[in-house]
């Protein structure tokens, strides 16, 4: 199969960008989307052009490095997978495919398809942890944790921090990301002592970074490669409400 790619190229944040069209060579439908970009980049390099910059690392859907908006959807057409787990099988021979970066004000463009997501690190630094010093922990069995709570916490903890939720949201809201972390800790006994302080600090930092408000359209849940549930946003809102009442 072959496809036509319309790729966003932009030197840096200060230079205007544009779409550039590339006709791919013959491709194998078992190739991943990123392997296709590798092939195109090899070709560009040989033609003396600069290859397309894009983010990736693990290529198995766990590190959260890959991004890309493919035909208008963060992480492409398939539900519940990241761009690196998108295979050409999901496209047809001759398709024209639009490839853009994750666009959101708090994610400044770096180059071509690469954006900066350090805002997430700053939100985590504001409170996304349990304050426990190394070596001071009690025996792991000292506090039993109901299986349901552990499983639910794991559902939330599965977030890979890719930012697709922000990229798809018309308000560039980071609520799904933040609520996943807040809920993971909020569901576990170990997270209780700092529960309200944590949510207040993280939400405050989220606002400071310029992420928008949540209007519960659910588009974030729909594109999340780990299918993080909107329920966590509701959960976080409740915790945040309590935090405000308590003046945390």
């Amino acid at each position: 199969m072959k496809v036509k790619l319309k790729v966003w190229r932009q030197r840096n944040a200060d230079t205007p960008g544009r779409f550039v069209v590339y006709d791919t060579p013959e491709l194998n439908p078992n190739m991943s989307f990123l392997e296709m970009l590798d092939v195109v980049n090899e070709q560009l390099t040989l033609q003396g052009e600069e290859p397309i910059a894009f983010d990736h690392d693990c290529r198995e859907g766990i590190c959260g490095t890959c991004s890309l908006v493919i035909n208008g959807k963060p992480h492409g057409p398939q539900r519940g997978v990241a761009t690196c787990q998108t295979y050409l099988r999901s496209f047809r021979d001759g398709d024209e495919i639009l490839v853009e970066p994750f666009r959101a004000r708090p994610f400044p463009l770096v180059k071509d398809l690469v954006v900066g997501r350090q805002a997430f690190d700053r939100i985590m630094t504001a409170g996304g942890f349990i304050s426990v010093r190394t070596g001071s922990a009690p025996d792991a069995h000292a506090i039993p944790v109901p299986k349901e709570a552990a499983e639910r916490a794991m559902d939330a903890a599965a977030c890979i921090g890719c930012g697709a939720c922000v990229a798809v949201c018309k308000n560039a809201s980071a609520m799904l990301f933040v609520s996943a972390k807040v809920s993971q800790f909020g569901l576990l006994p170990q997270g209780q002592p700092e529960r309200y302080r944590r949510v207040a600090a993280m939400v405050e930092q989220m606002d400071r970074e310029g992420f928008g408000a949540c209007t519960v359209t659910g588009s974030c849940e729909a594109v999340c490669p780990k299918r993080i549930s909107l329920d966590f946003i509701a959960r976080m809102n409740r915790d945040y409400g309590v935090a405000l009442l308590r003046g945390a």
């Binding site: 693990c58 590190c63 922990a137």
Partner: protein, 640 residues
């Protein structure tokens, strides 16, 4: 010649670590703030070390080439982490974990290090649970365990198929806590390109900001490398694409010894290669071997048949046949080699003939589809995504792939290299796994090194240096190192040849896989040692690196790393050639028993080979650290 003093404390094995901690020099709290420590890497080892050193009061700078510390390769570990908790009451103990690890490593690791690893393993789990790591639990609320290759007890803790992710996010959260406290400063998108050595001590690094191209000098009282393994020298591997050897390689070229480079691990259960475009190989967690049965047809003529059409009697469950007591749970090196053997015999399955079946039909019958889905659902999903096949209905096809490196920079018991002030943690060092690593032990080692070992040992070094004598970045050693870095970048960009970096990397990887992969022999290694320098020469003349050094340039990043792979590949082959025995992941065809099992040579090779760089024009020196076994008896490693 480098001085290789292991500094293993005296006394009985079980008391060495606690005694050592007691006897270590301490730095008083008010002085700790004056010490600066550079940590390169924020995988399990680097993030846990940075966080803990920060807690202790040191001033820490942490560097990663990733856009965030949370993205390190550790995130991809699936199966689990070992710890001698004996929560299952199945006879586990510190001593058993120690013994399994020593034996698993084919008696090529230091007793004292491995014992310490087993000893601190239990604390790791306590620490992680307290951090909110959502490990799998039983209905009673206690932690669940599974068993893993090379062990007959259930001591592996896990968080679904995402254990590495959860442990890393735990360590990253600990790091965030210290970032918030101001004790740690984090530099993302920043790649270390050289180590600065002043008067024989590691005193700083040269880094490049990958977004702006800016090259910056950083000085410190000690430098910690926690930069992961070097398996991507093979190009195709289960590593993340960006994982690379540059940090340890450049440290090697500054005088740090590189130990046992030929101890590389090939993982038996990966998805087979499907085409030339392939960029990486995907691991199917070893935990699948708990319930899946591995087989190939007995008759090569059956290899293209629908597997359902091959009756039980015509199948060869070769691991169960050859290793009845461990069966499908035989260690990785043994399972990988057995797979290679049956494929060499023409019995491999799939398009290329390079594959074996991992079959769940029996497990599904015994446990029901739901139970199998609960245990392995996400792995079956990954398999489906990649191959478009449904493993609930047809057996998976798997094949060995490059996965982990036991070799790495040489360190003493304190995790300090032969260069004073340079500490090496996690997969980047050579310390604990001997010639083969057991499943679920890398995560254990990374966190042991970072949370517990380094924080206990670094003070002994720091107490000997005065923070007000830290060399400034204007010292000539910094200027010289910076100039080297700049020169290399200029050379790569100026070359404008006709081949891409990737095409060279592919060719090198293929060469290594063929001659220094699952089975090695003298003729093949010699051939590789002739071809690698020629290819390296062509690389220098004919590589094409587009773009500039003033902004994000992924081709340039890659080009520097591949340049290092060429040199490392040569050392790997050299080490494999010199080690005239088979042990663990290093299998020399000349040294095997008639039944094809590895033949170790304890008389001549019960030692660590630590290579010392001698400059570009002279071959490296092979230093030797003898391995002394006082507690365990070196035995032929049998899993039969």
């Amino acid at each position: 010649m480098a001085k290789l003093e292991s500094h293993i404390p005296a006394g009985p094995l079980a008391q060495k670590w606690s005694r050592h901690l007691f006897e270590s020099k301490l730095v008083n709290p008010a002085n700790k703030r004056k010490y600066e420590v550079i940590v390169v890497g924020a995988g399990l080892a680097g993030a846990s070390a940075s966080a803990t050193l920060g807690e202790l009061g040191y001033r820490v700078k942490t560097f990663v080439y990733h856009d965030s510390p949370r993205r390190a390769h550790s995130i991809a570990a699936q199966g689990g982490i070992n710890a001698a908790k004996n929560y299952q009451n199945d006879g586990d103990s510190v001593h058993r974990l120690f013994y399994d690890t020593i034996k698993g490593g084919d008696f090529r690791a230091r007793e004292a290090n491995v014992y310490r690893l087993a000893e601190v393993s239990a604390q790791i789990i306590d620490q992680c649970v307290a951090q909110g790591v959502p490990f799998a639990r039983e209905y009673g609320g206690l932690l669940d365990n599974r068993s893993f290759g090379g062990a007959q007890v259930s001591r592996t803790f896990y968080a679904r198929g995402q254990t590495g992710q959860q442990l890393l996010l735990g360590a990253y959260a600990a790091l965030c806590k210290e970032l918030a406290a101001g004790s740690v400063e984090s530099f993302s998108h920043t790649e270390m390109l050289d180590l600065v050595v002043v008067d024989g001590h590691a005193k700083g690094v040269i880094v490049r900001n990958l977004l702006t191209g800016e090259i910056v000098r950083h000085a410190a009282d000690a430098v910690v490398l926690a930069t992961g393994g070097y398996g991507n020298v093979f190009n195709l591997s289960t590593y993340a694409r960006q994982s690379n050897a540059t940090a340890i390689w450049r440290a090697y070229k500054r005088g740090a010894c590189f130990a046992n480079p030929c101890y590389t691990q090939i993982h038996p259960t990966c998805i087979p290669v499907s085409g030339d475009y392939q960029s990486k190989l995907t691991l199917m967690s070893e935990s699948l071997r708990n319930d899946g049965r591995i087989w190939v047809p007995k008759d090569p003529a059956d290899r293209r048949k629908d597997p359902h059409a091959i009756p039980e009697s015509a199948r060869d469950y070769y691991l169960e046949r050859k290793y009845p007591s461990f069966g499908n749970l035989a260690p990785r090196d043994i399972s990988s080699r057995a797979a290679k053997q049956v494929c060499d015999e023409g019995r491999g399955v799939g398009e290329s003939g390079l594959g074996v079946y991992l079959d769940f039909a029996d497990a599904i019958q015994r446990l029901g589809v739901e139970k199998v889905r609960e245990r392995y659902g996400n792995l079956f999903d990954i398999y489906h995504e990649i191959t478009n096949e449904d493993a609930y209905r047809v057996p998976m096809r798997i094949f060995p792939a490059m996965h982990y490196t036991m070799g790495g920079l040489w360190v003493d018991y304190n995790l300090m290299s032969n260069l004073p002030g340079l500490f090496v943690l996690g997969e980047a060092n050579f310390s604990d796994h001997g010639a083969n690593r057991l499943g679920a032990s890398a995560l254990m080692q990374g966190l042991a090194d970072g949370y517990f070992v380094l924080p206990g040992t670094i003070s002994t070094y720091l107490a000997t240096v005065k923070p007000d004598q830290r060399p400034p970045t204007t010292h000539p050693a910094f200027a010289e190192a910076e100039e080297q870095v700049r020169q290399q970048i200029r050379r790569l960009l100026a070359c404008r040849g006709r081949r891409t970096v990737q095409s060279f990397h592919k060719e090198l990887g293929r060469l290594l896989w063929d001659h220094c992969g699952m089975a090695r022999n003298e003729a093949g290694l010699k051939q590789a040692l002739e071809r690698i320098p020629a290819l390296r020469e062509e690389y220098a003349q004919n590589v094409n690196v587009p773009g500039s050094d003033q902004d994000l340039n992924q081709s340039l990043e890659r080009a520097g790393r591949v340049a290092d792979y060429f040199e490392l590949a040569e050392l790997l082959c050299r080490d494999a050639l010199e080690r005239r025995e088979s042990c663990g992941g290093h299998f020399r065809e000349e040294f095997q028993y008639p039944d094809g099992e590895a033949r170790r040579d304890d008389e001549h090779f019960a030692h660590v080979a630590a290579w010392e760089y001698q400059g570009p024009d002279r071959p490296p020196l092979r230093n030797v650290e003898p391995l002394v076994y006082a507690e365990v008896k070196m035995a032929t490693r049998s899993y039969k």
